[in-house]
Amino acid sequence: MKEAEKRYDEIEQCLRKVRLAEPPGELKRRILGAAQETWKQAPAEVPWQIPLRHLGLSAAAAVLIVSSANYFSTASVAPWQADRPVAVRVEAAGFEDMPETPYSPFVRHLIATCGSPARDASALLDYVQSVRKTLDGAEQDDAADGSGPSEHESRLLPVGSKIDSYV
């Protein structure tokens, strides 16, 4: 390590036998003349204008990009959408609006506060019960005709069975 330092010192000493040539006075006059001429000609950029200009340019670029993206997306989708029917928004029927709800006001309140899964289950139950009633009516009609369906008997559970426990 010391040997390396010694070597570097020797080279540095050798290099210091010479020095850089000083800039000549004529060069100073020439360069300062050109610089001061530029100073007079070139209007200085006011510092507060610089960020403002950057902001303006950024905003203009953003508006251009967004509006062109919007325009091109609309233009590319337009022919594809031309023949399609217009979608109509239909309000979902509320559970409270359903007629003949078989529950007491307290149960309805519970269902309303528990949220959609409970509503779905009770609506399903109502639907199943209405289907069952329809089928029972059809079976009674068949029995009245005297041609009981031995092979086509309904496999649905009778009314009042344990299906109520699913709710």
């Binding site: 390396a4 070597r7 570097y8 020797e10 080279i11 540095e12 050798c14 290099l15 210091r16 036998k17 010479v18 020095r19 850089l20 040539a21 000083e22 800039p23 060069l27 100073k28 020439r30 360069i31 300062l32 050109a34 610089a35 001061q36 530029t38 100073w39 007079k40 070139a42 200085a44 950029e45 006011v46 510092p47 610089i50």
Partner: protein, 192 residues
Amino acid sequence: MDRHSADDLIRAALRRDDPAACELLWDRYAGDLLAFLQAVRCSKHDAEDVLQTIFVKIVRKRHHLAAARCLDAYVYQIARNEATSFLRQHRRKRSLDWDPKRGVSCLGTQSDAQPWLVAAEPADRSQEVAEALQAALTRLPPVQREIVVLKTYKDKTFREIAEMLELSLNTVASRYRYGLEKLRALLKDLEL
């Protein structure tokens, strides 16, 4: 005047938009920049031309300079950009009228007869020594040469050079040592 007060004076003049800032900038940077450019370009003429371009550019961007966090870094960034751009233009020009007989390791070295190193003290072989050292320095890679010149002839510390050239301290130190090792081998041949 120390470096910080010189920087403050320059900033104040730039903020006042006072053309006297040119003179202050000259006193503060001309010597160092010329050394740096001569080290990069190996040519006194080219270095002087680039120096003029740098000063004109600094004047155009004077308010950016006044707002710059570090004056040195800003000025040397302009100097590096201008030197690189000058070098690129020169290379393009050289490639158009390329003369294969002239083997040059650094643009302008052979054609530029003006020395940028002069003897520190008059002596018997001083001119010869100056020419030999200039030739040896010219054969270093520019990245090593600029650091050797700034450290040896402008007495810059590694830290100052690292700030000027935006390099790490270790990079500057290692390039300097590699440069000295190469110079040692070159100077051994010259028997200096």
